[in-house]
């Protein structure tokens, strides 16, 4: 990363504490992380280290217990819940380990769903969905329900859905975690291509060293903190 790159998401001293009865679980303990525009960042770390929690913070899916998060320079604590939803819908595309498609909707309808919540009209939705289906090479599967698709195909639908609104950043939480290495490879190829050709910002959580190599920068989480790099 060059120092000229503009920060997209700035996480400063973020704590996330879950209270379960008398127990307090600190999922994040003073996390500091900046995601720059146009970069491909991989986040690694052992299970339970707070990677998914950190992704939820980056994707404004949840609010921190303390600390500040800025998206495009705007402090998200100033946003209402529906304001955050709109922000999320416009700027962020999620890809999950378990695909998380809606089972009652077809591949194409799943891709159009984020556009519906953005109030995009039917013609434009259709056009955009076709474009994305082509991109993920699933034009011939557009009317299939998720249950009628293979894991790799489902994850490609999920990628297309994440791209539907032209988000600023794609957040992928172990996108290949549920796929065999070959299909995982094709999914990674898509992400790589997106980053290269479209300049999409990508933040990806992974367990796998090889997968992480695709990224330009790797950060490691442990006990809710980024481990400082020994230089």
């Amino acid at each position: 990363m060059t120092s000229k790159a503009k920060p997209l998401i700035e996480i400063q001293d973020v704590w996330k504490t879950y209270t379960m009865g008398d127990n307090k679980v600190h999922a994040l303990r003073g996390l500091n992380l900046t995601v720059y525009k146009g970069e491909f960042l991989a986040v690694m770390g052992p299970s339970g280290s707070g990677k998914s929690t950190a992704m939820n913070m980056i994707g404004v899916l949840d609010r921190p217990t303390t600390g500040s998060i800025k998206l495009d320079g705007k402090d998200i604590s100033k946003f209402s819940e529906s304001g955050l939803a709109t922000l999320r819908g416009k700027k962020i595309g999620f890809i999950f380990q378990k695909f998380n498609l809606i089972n009652t909707l077809s591949a194409k309808e799943n891709i159009m769903l984020p556009l519906i919540f953005q109030g995009v009209n039917a013609v434009e939705r259709e056009r955009r969905a076709n474009e994305l289906l082509k991109l993920v090479e699933l034009e011939d599967r557009q009317n299939h329900k998720p249950s009628e698709l293979s894991g790799g195909q489902q994850q490609r639908v999920a990628i297309a859905r994440a791209l539907a609104v032209n988000p600023e950043v794609i957040l992928a939480d172990e996108p290949t975690g549920n796929l065999d290495s070959k299909t995982g490879g094709t999914v990674m190829d898509f992400l790589k291509k997106l980053h290269k050709e479209n300049g999409t910002t990508i933040v990806m959580v992974t367990h796998d060293e090889d997968t992480a190599k695709v990224a330009e920068r790797v950060e490691v989480l442990r006990d809710g903190q980024i481990i400082p790099k020994s230089k």
Partner: protein, 408 residues
Amino acid sequence: MTLIKEYFQIALRSLTRRRLRSWLTMIGIFIGIAAVVSLISLGQGMRSAVYDTFERMGSDKLMITPKTQFGPPGANTGYVPLVESDLDFLEGISGVQAVSGYVMSSARIEFQDSVRYYSVVGIPTEPERLNLIIDIFATDIAKGRNLEPGDTFAAVTGFYHNERGLYAGKNIQLNNKFFINDQKFYLAGVFEPIGSSQDDSMIIIPMDSFRKVTGIEDRIDFIVVQGDEETLNDLADVVTRSLARHQGVNVDDVGFNVQTPEDLLSTLDTILNIVQGVLIGIALISLFVGGIGVMNTMFTSVMERNKEIGIMKAVGAKNSDILYLFLIESGLLGLVGGLIGIFLGVGFAKLVEIISTQALGKTFLVAHFSWGLFLGALAFSFVLGAGAGTLPAVQAAKHKPADTLRDE
């Protein structure tokens, strides 16, 4: 809420996915709506049948009836009874155009060795009085003829005696002989069906013969006074006061009621309203239970779909989007339930109409349907469904996406 059509599509998808459960949930709604629709349409039909009857009787007539406690006609009530000579007296009041009346009692009817007991009504046979009372009966002769001046032992009956095999399976045919309290009569005519078993098994005979066979002297059970339509209410006052004076009793203690057609109509209306109100109340209870069913289904549905809600929020759904989605879903349950309910209700009302027509031999009860009723029922069922779904929808809207998307 920009894209309502899409919301309906998404909601419809989740309902059809759980087809069986959706149907079961709707049963409560459509039974209730069916009951309401059929009750209202039949009630309207009954109302207009009553109005029709009154129209035929005419709106220029007062009805005078003895005040009775519960009991048979002529039971001792401590009041001065109405008597046949009252008819003559009333004819003398200015403004009165005609007067008639009848007397009624149960009698022993014997036909071909079979004996039954029915109500026998004695009516005057003087031409003017005869015509007036025939008007009041407001029903036509189906066979033979009506009573005529000069008749003595002639009888006109409801169609039951002629068609229903009341006498050991046998019917009295025109001109057949039969006995009323051991006096021989012959059947001169049969009425068209009227619509109640009491009216349709009535036997009508001349007043003089009635008194002879029953031994009831003087008493009269119903008087009709024909006047001028415009001044009927005034005439009612005059008649009340004059008749009281004639009987020698205080106006406040008279043993009779004078009713105008308006009075009667409003009384009947009140009765109909009460009956209909009670029935619809019961139907509403079933709708309430149906609403609870919708609520229960929606709560279950929200619980099962935590993840789906989380996904939608992750892709930009606001709380209000989720709220609307679930409200539309439960509203649709109500709406479709209502639609089916309307069809069932119409079918049921038509069935009652057909059965009653066959039972009474006459179209008396015609179900009245209106667009207002249908649209009202639809709107009501949608609102009921959405209303019942409000709490579950609010619960769904409040879901924290981070919690539901965890644990992959």
